[in-house]
């Protein structure tokens, strides 16, 4: 589904990703772990096409397409979802309006008819219920006045509504209490644990992986994957820290 080859990227002329390669197949869950400043968020932003994150080398193929040739919204329409480490507030725009416009914009790019208000609401309600979020929250402006945990939960509701093929989830577990962590973990499994979907979890901690079992675990340090392994690698990392393993 996703094939990253020797990806190099700079931010403000500073090289951050320095030849990163990674392959993800449909049906798989991968976890990327690594120390602060390793370039994990940069990887997510670069794949999603954030302006300012400049690709200076390498290639990324997503579902047979040259991902790097697409604009950010085209990547979204192609099925790429980025769960933000710091979800953004948009005053005056309700979550429902935001998501309906987003979903219909994606559908338009894919050549599908727009969803009616009623059909959209049905989907939105189901996803909110599944994440234990009140509909009233969805009527409020995007992330405005939401707690850290609520923002992360909201990312999952958005993921459920947009129903992507590949989810890059950037520290979706940080700032969650233990109950919220379970809800979010179950949400990821429910929405994304499917034969035709894949997940890349960016996390610091084993605890999310207790709920979402990864098939592969990678260690990212200084802009490269320095080690890959099975689920056990995450436990090892938790015990030993990154320094030993990356060495």
């Amino acid at each position: 589904m996703l094939s990253i080859t020797n990806l190099q990227a700079t931010v403000a002329d500073k090289p951050i990703l320095k030849g990163l390669s990674l392959s993800i197949n449909a049906g798989e869950v991968h976890a990327i772990m690594g120390p602060n400043g390793a370039g994990k968020s940069t990887l997510g932003y670069t794949l999603a096409g954030r302006p300012g994150y400049e690709v200076t080398g390498g290639s990324v193929v997503f579902d047979g397409q040259d991902l790097l040739a697409l604009d950010p919204h085209e990547r979204a329409a192609a099925g790429l979802f980025l769960g933000f480490q710091y979800p953004v507030e948009i005053p005056g725009v309700s979550n429902l309006q935001f998501l309906r416009e987003s979903l219909n914009a994606q559908r338009k790019i894919r050549g599908e008819d727009p969803l009616s208000g009623a059909d959209f609401l049905k989907i939105a309600r189901a996803q909110a219920d599944a994440m234990g979020m009140e509909m009233d929250m969805l009527k409020r402006p995007v992330n405005v006045g939401f707690s850290g945990g609520e923002k992360k939960r909201n990312e999952m509701v958005q993921m459920g509504i947009l129903n992507p093929k590949l989810a890059l989830l950037d520290e979706t577990d940080s700032g969650l209490d233990i109950d919220a962590l379970r809800v979010v973990g179950e949400g990821i499994n429910r929405i994304m644990r499917k034969a035709d979907k894949a997940v890349l979890l960016i996390t610091h901690y084993q605890r999310l992986l207790d709920y979402v079992q990864p098939d592969f675990v990678h260690v990212l340090a200084e802009g490269k994957i320095v080690r890959s392994g099975g689920p056990d690698l995450a436990l090892e990392l938790e015990r030993e820290g990154y320094r030993e393993l990356a060495a």
Partner: protein, 492 residues
């Protein structure tokens, strides 16, 4: 009462000469022009064209003589190129074929133009006679002359008078005489005086005591003739305990020529009356290099004369090369309420100096001002607002919120509040913010699937929401689209 039209051979010759002007975007409708230039004969020509009574001509002539002694205001933060008042036409009318009963009978060319402008679906439904469609009465002002009025009968049943101002001058001279120029005096300012002298047409509304107007009243203004200044005149009188919501929308086609627009709108609210006046202004703003565009010098004022009366101005200003406009409320009646909700967008080289005046003369009068300025490109937007509390006005309250949003770093946003309080019991609150549209917000929205311009439109609409939600439904939808369209190409 009726004067005979002046037969001015020179005028007709001039009109014939300009009749073969390049059409460009203009709909193909024959025009009848007053000769170019401005003098007492122009004023007489217009008055005669409209079959006005003597008193009206006298009023115009007095205004014209006064105007000649006035100077154009220069205190606004605007860079206004010199305007040659002698190099413009002051009257253009579609050739009257016959009196029309409804919009269906309007020249299809005109309707086509309206369609291009995206007149709200609801309105089209009403025009097509769809059952259950929300009623909106349209008094179409096309190039200065009211060519059709709909729903007149239903309004008549309610006792509501909704006419072109020329008709009102002939049919309800006493009502017009009583209020015309009483809210905005002839000598109020340069542009108002000019309007008094040469106003071509406009709208008159009277809502009788205790009547809630059964539908929203709507007028579409549209400039269609090259070099034709637009001098609309609107007078709305809401008698005791009445209510009316009035929608004014305007757009103009592609033009390379600067056009002057100097409208006057006067509102009068008596005891317990309420007027809601909504505007979407989308005159041609000029091109991306700042060529062309409408000069929009408007005087809008409401007299909250009665106790507990209320006037609410809502405006969405996206058009015009230059906007000079301060819809205001004179709160004379005790416990009267004034509101001003404004979104002003400037892009490219547009300039807008707009705001409001809330004049608190009555006791316990209250006012709310919410201004949202959005600047992009090389444009400049200024909020200019006055809150004045008279010595006798006990217990006044005002709340002002002024927010500016910048797109890019070559535009400007300015806030100029004037507060004059002569009564210590007044509670005045003023809040102001300036922010930039953030890359985080744009990318977040784009990651969810929105194109860059859709993302900008969404964020800007969110910023302007408090104002947009004051608009009647069908207008709000149109206005939202307009904000997006106005800012196309402003980011990235």
């Amino acid at each position: 009462m009726t004067d005979t039209p002046i037969k001015d051979a020179a005028a007709h010759a001039a009109a014939a000469k300009v009749a073969d002007y390049e059409h460009g975007w203009s709909a193909d409708i024959e025009q009848e022009f007053a000769p170019k230039g401005l003098n007492e004969d122009t004023v007489r020509f217009i008055s005669a064209k409209k079959n006005e009574p003597e008193w009206m001509l006298d009023w115009r002539l007095k205004a014209f003589r006064l105007w000649q002694t006035l100077e154009a205001p220069d205190w606004a933060k605007l860079n206004v190129p010199p305007i040659d008042y002698q190099d413009a036409y002051y009257y253009a009318a579609p050739k009257a074929k016959k009196k029309l009963e409804s919009l269906d009978e309007v020249d299809p060319e005109i309707l086509k133009v309206y369609e291009k402008l995206g007149i709200p679906i609801e309105e089209q439904k009403v025009l097509a006679g769809v059952e259950g469609a929300r009623k909106v009465a349209v008094d179409a002002v096309f190039d200065s002359v009211s060519v059709a009025t709909t729903f007149r009968d239903e309004l008549k049943k309610a006792g509501v008078i909704f006419l072109s101002i020329s008709e009102a001058i002939r049919e309800y001279p006493d009502l017009v005489k009583k209020w015309l120029g009483k809210v905005v005096p002839v000598r109020d300012n340069y542009f108002a005086a000019l309007n008094c002298a040469v106003f071509s047409d406009g709208t008159f509304v009277y809502i009788p005591e205790g009547v809630r107007c059964p539908m929203e009243l709507s007028t579409y203004f549209r400039i269609n003739a090259e070099n034709t200044g637009q001098f609309e005149r609107t007078l709305i009188v809401a008698d005791k305990g009445s209510y009316v919501s009035y929608l004014e929308g305007c757009t103009a086609p592609m033009r390379d020529e600067n056009q002057l627009h100097a409208a006057v709108v006067e509102l009068v609210a008596l005891d317990d009356a309420e007027i809601k006046y909504s505007t979407v202004q989308n005159w041609y703003p000029g091109d991306a290099e700042g060529r062309g565009g409408i000069y929009n010098f408007v005087t809008k004022r409401a007299l909250c004369q009665g106790a507990r009366s209320k006037v609410s101005w809502t405006q969405v200003e996206t058009g015009s090369a230059i906007t000079w406009k301060y819809p205001s409320c004179v709160l004379n009646g005790d416990d009267s309420v004034g509101e001003f909700y404004s979104v002003a967008v400037t892009n490219n080289f547009q300039q807008a100096d707009t705001g409001t005046k809330m004049i608190h003369n009555g006791k316990r009068t209250r006012s709310t001002i919410v201004s949202k300025g959005i600047s992009a490109g090389h444009s400049n937007g200024t909020y200019r607002g006055l809150v004045r509390v008279a010595p006798q006005a006990e217990g006044v309250r005002n709340f002002t919120q002024c927010d500016s949003l910048l797109l890019g770093n070559q535009c400007g946003a300015h806030t100029v509040p004037y507060i004059e309080v002569k009564n210590p019991s007044a509670q005045i609150e003023h809040e102001a913010t300036t922010s930039k549209i953030s890359d985080d917000q744009l990318f977040y929205a784009m990651q969810r699937g929105l194109g860059q311009e859709e993302a900008v439109a969404l964020i800007v609409n969110g910023f302007a929401k408090e104002v947009l939600q004051q608009l009647p439904m069908e207008f709000a939808v149109e206005a939202q689209k307009l904000l997006g369209i106005s800012l196309e190409g402003s980011v990235g």
